[in-house]
Amino acid sequence: MTKIIITIVLLVTSQLFSQGQFEQGMGKAFALWGEGKNTEASAMFERIASAEKENWLPNYYVVLVNTTTAFATKDKEQMNALLSKAQSALDVELNKYPNNAELLVMQAMIHTAWIAFDPMTNGMKLSGKVMEIYAKAEQIEPNNPRVIFSKAEFEMGSAKFFGTDTKPICAQIEKSIELFATFKPQTVFHPNWGLERAQEAAKNCK
């Protein structure tokens, strides 16, 4: 009896310990991010990435946190620092998984942030690249709602600028909303954002 208990206790504890660490860490990082503590959240994700070298998710969130923070900042110096941080984390994962559609969406987002940073210099240079990356992502995962939506959102910018018809783009946004409805992330930590933004964008279509 004692033996059994010891074995069980040891097993459970060690199981909990090793398995739980990832979940715990990710959970804590998400909590920090939710509280708006972006620097701490990024730091937490960065630490998890250093321990979980085979898992692309922690670095994915380093990229997402820093890129979204960059979009919100007005300070060019800070923006440059955040985007450089995001890019170096992304490079690590893209090097390992060059055909991961979610990572490709992140690359397109970083480029988009650079375009916003200095449209005169980067607009010409990166717009084509962004479209190319989305095209590649779409080829890999044609039914990934984030790919469809992010691409449509980017196209919307230039369509509005040139006053072209936005109907086909709006149709894509609607399509992405349908895809969001059926999208099942592999785990709770896999990317699962975008529905709200898509619904917001769809409102502007009407």
């Binding site: 960065e46 110096e77 717009s127 196209e155 040139f162 006053g163």
Partner: protein, 717 residues
């Protein structure tokens, strides 16, 4: 039983909580606390962020030695092997990263354009959209301070230097014939299409030891590393047509463009001051192939250009016009590889070959010449730390020039030379801090034809005085083989020599850039000869000398006025030289003391148009009037030119473009040609050297078709 169970749990818990505390404080170099830094043990979950006082502490179950990492935005990542059991209350000083936007940059003398430049003066698109540049890289650079507007030449004249004192490089390799062939007093243009390049660095002095054989200036053009998408470009212009295409597959990409230019229809429509027998026409093409290796990039660039024209030019010494016809065949190709290897090493190596063949008829005399120019280069660099980088390399230049002159029904004279120059250079970039940086190096060269060995030191420093302002200072010695025009007659020469001293101040804030540069330049060993023109029996020497000093001011602002970008350049120069067949030291005829240029671009949203104006004005240029006792005592009247352009976006991919140069039709005179002998009244007659036409009109339609069907096809406006 229960006790055992509790005890066991306790043991297990003890085990998992048998932890060591790691603590300390994170500060910057000055000891000021850094909050929010990320501190952790590599490969573990154990770590923390520093609090508002820079303090941190966390527990770890790790033991022994581990690597502690501290990372924070805009600072260098700190890594150190630590003893886990023994790391408490330690202060870690982070060093500011020198790879940030606000770090000092060694900038004296150089204008950067393009992607990688942190303070970019011209953007690639500026070249095409600068009014009056007509897509010519050189013409756009001529709106920067330090250059002279020499309207009858079209080349780059930098800080009192002749046009051939500027050396051009594509992907680091020399271009021996950077300009299209032309007749005397007819402006030429650069050979390169601005669409193929995304990095342009134009140095008006004090440049790196990597570059040699240039007394005044270095222009480096880098071809695009990776084209963004597959596309086809079609241009229909009043002066010809062009087509371009880019393909990408796997790790390869290929871009080519071709253009056919014929000025005949245009010149039939708009009368010219030039008497053409056969107007200028040319067929040219460029190609770039790239292959992406895992750790490097191979690029092969090729350009060819076949042009010809036939013209009658006035000559004050001839009763009738002189017929001048020219056919120029030009080829330039290079292959370059750049990549990284080992531990922070990088390699850049390549070869270039240029061939220029001219067949020139002057009345019934014939001149045929060809120049073969080869350049081999290898450069390696290593980042020793974040703050110290060393570069070293070698160059080998071979030039072979032959010329045959056949007099009408007369003799044939052959001249020519062959020269090889072997050079080696080494340089080091050192950041002492985010505020102070230095670049120091030297170049050694051995010239086979002149049989001489030279060492040229180079040094520059930059110091940041405020958040947005910095000073730079540069010094350098530069040597250059005398040009083919002289060296083809004699090898009894030395290299010409120049020394540059440059002090630069730069202030850059929120889309506004101010830059002021003062320089002093000393010329020695310039070529002299004693005849009307350089010829086979001239007595040549290297006894010439001269100086140039001045101030260049540049201001660019794209913030103050909405949708408007403008820049203003002003240059003041005081230069004199005694060279060629000059009687004494004077200001040469290509120099205007004051040059001002203003370039504006304004985007009109409602019209989907960009309109631009360029205005250039400079003071008069000297000329020699033999009717006066003093040499080079004449001054032309001031030069001015107002150009306009209008680009209308039919859609994102279709552009209608219109431009006109010299709208107000100023009758600019660049200089005078005087007769060789006086007339009956003892006066030397003269002829003004002016513009081929008062205005130049240009209409073009540019259409980009990207093959990627699902991409930005925002057609049918």
């Amino acid at each position: 039983m229960k006790t055992i169970f509790t005890f066991l749990l306790f043991i297990v818990a003890m085990q998992s909580y048998a932890q060591t505390e790691i603590s300390g404080k994170i500060t910057d170099e000055k000891g000021i606390a850094i909050p929010g830094a990320n501190i952790y043990l590599e490969g573990t979950y154990d770590g923390a962020s520093s609090d508002e006082n820079g303090n941190f502490k966390f527990n770890t179950s790790e033991t022994g030695t581990k690597i502690l990492i501290v990372s924070y935005l805009s600072f260098e990542t700190f890594k150190k092997q630590i003893e886990v059991s023994n790391f408490k209350n330690q202060t870690i000083k982070l060093r500011e990263s020198v790879n940030t936007l606000d770090a000092v940059i060694v900038s004296a003398g150089t204008f950067e354009a393009g992607d990688k430049a942190r303070v970019s003066v011209l953007k690639p698109l500026d070249i095409v959209t600068t009014a009056g540049s007509a897509g010519d890289i050189i013409a756009a650079l001529n709106t920067l301070p330090g250059t002279q507007t020499v309207g009858e030449s079209g080349r780059l004249f930098v800080r009192g230097g002749e046009a051939d004192e500027t050396q051009t490089f594509v992907d680091g390799l020399r271009v021996a014939q950077p300009y299209g062939a032309t007749a005397q007093n007819l402006p030429t243009r650069g050979r390169f299409s601005p669409f193929l390049f995304n990095g342009i660095s134009f140095s008006t002095g004090g440049y790196s030891a990597e570059f040699g054989e240039a007394l005044s200036s270095v222009l480096t053009l880098n071809t695009i590393d990776e084209p963004t998408q597959e596309q086809t470009d079609i241009s229909l212009m009043t002066v010809g047509l062009g087509i371009g295409n880019t393909q990408k597959w796997n790790k390869n990409s290929l871009t080519f463009n071709a253009a056919y230019i014929n000025l005949e229809p245009y010149q039939k429509l708009i009368p010219q001051a030039v008497d053409w027998n056969k107007p200028y026409q040319s067929l040219s093409g460029e190609m770039v192939y790239r292959y992406q290796f895992k750790n490097g990039l191979l690029k092969i660039y090729g350009a060819f250009d076949v042009s010809q024209f036939d013209i009658n030019q006035e000559d004050i010494n001839q009763p009738e016009k002189v017929r001048f016809d020219l056919r120029n065949d030009n080829f330039y190709g290079n292959a370059s590889y750049k990549g990284t290897f080992g531990d922070n090493w990088n390699l850049h190596t390549g070869i270039s070959y240029g061939l220029g063949v001219n067949k020139i008829g002057v009345n019934s005399d014939q001149v045929e010449n060809d120049e073969n120019a080869l350049h081999l280069k290898m450069k390696v660099g290593k980042k020793i730390t974040e703050r110290i980088k060393i570069t070293a390399g070698a160059d080998y230049f071979v030039t072979d020039f032959d010329e045959k002159f056949t007099e009408f029904q007369g003799e044939t004279f052959n001249v020519g030379y062959q020269n090889s120059i072997a050079a080696a250079f080494a340089e080091s970039d050192i950041f002492f801090s985010k505020k102070l940086a230095m670049k120091i190096g030297a170049r050694a060269s051995q010239n086979s034809l002149l049989d001489e060995f030279r060492i040229s030191p180079r040094a520059s420093f930059a110091y940041k005085v405020s958040k947005n302002g910095q000073f730079s200072f540069a010094y350098g010695d530069f040597v250059q083989t005398p040009r083919a025009d002289y060296i083809k007659y004699s090898d009894n020469f030395q290299s010409e020599k120049a020394s540059h001293y440059i002090l630069n101040f730069q202030h850059n804030k929120n889309g506004r850039l101010f830059r002021a540069e003062a320089y002093y330049k000393k010329y020695d060993d310039l070529v002299k000869f004693d005849t009307e023109m350089a010829q086979f029996n001239s007595a040549f020497s290297n006894d010439g000398s001269g100086f140039a000093k001045g101030i260049d001011i540049f201001w660019r602002d794209n913030k103050t006025f909405k949708n408007t970008d403008y820049w203003v350049s002003y240059s003041y120069i005081d230069t004199e030289r005694n060279y060629l067949n000059f009687l004494n030291q004077v200001t040469p005829s290509f120099v205007a003391d004051h040059t001002l240029s203003i370039v504006t671009k304004h985007w009109i949203e409602d019209w989907k148009s960009q309109i631009g104006f360029s205005y250039v004005v400079n003071s008069g240029r000297p000329y020699n009037n033999p009717n006066e006792a003093t040499f080079m005592n004449g001054k032309t009247k001031a030069f001015q030119n107002l150009s306009f352009n209008w680009a209308y976006l039919l859609s994102q991919q279709k552009i209608l473009y219109f431009s006109v140069s010299n709208i107000i039709g100023t009758d600019n005179v660049f200089g005078y040609q005087y007769s060789n002998s006086p007339d009956m009244n003892g006066q030397f007659q003269r002829r003004a050297i002016g513009q081929p036409a008062d205005r130049f009109f240009f209409v073009g339609f540019f259409w980009t078709i990207s093959e990627n069907k699902k991409t930005n096809q925002l057609e049918n406006l």
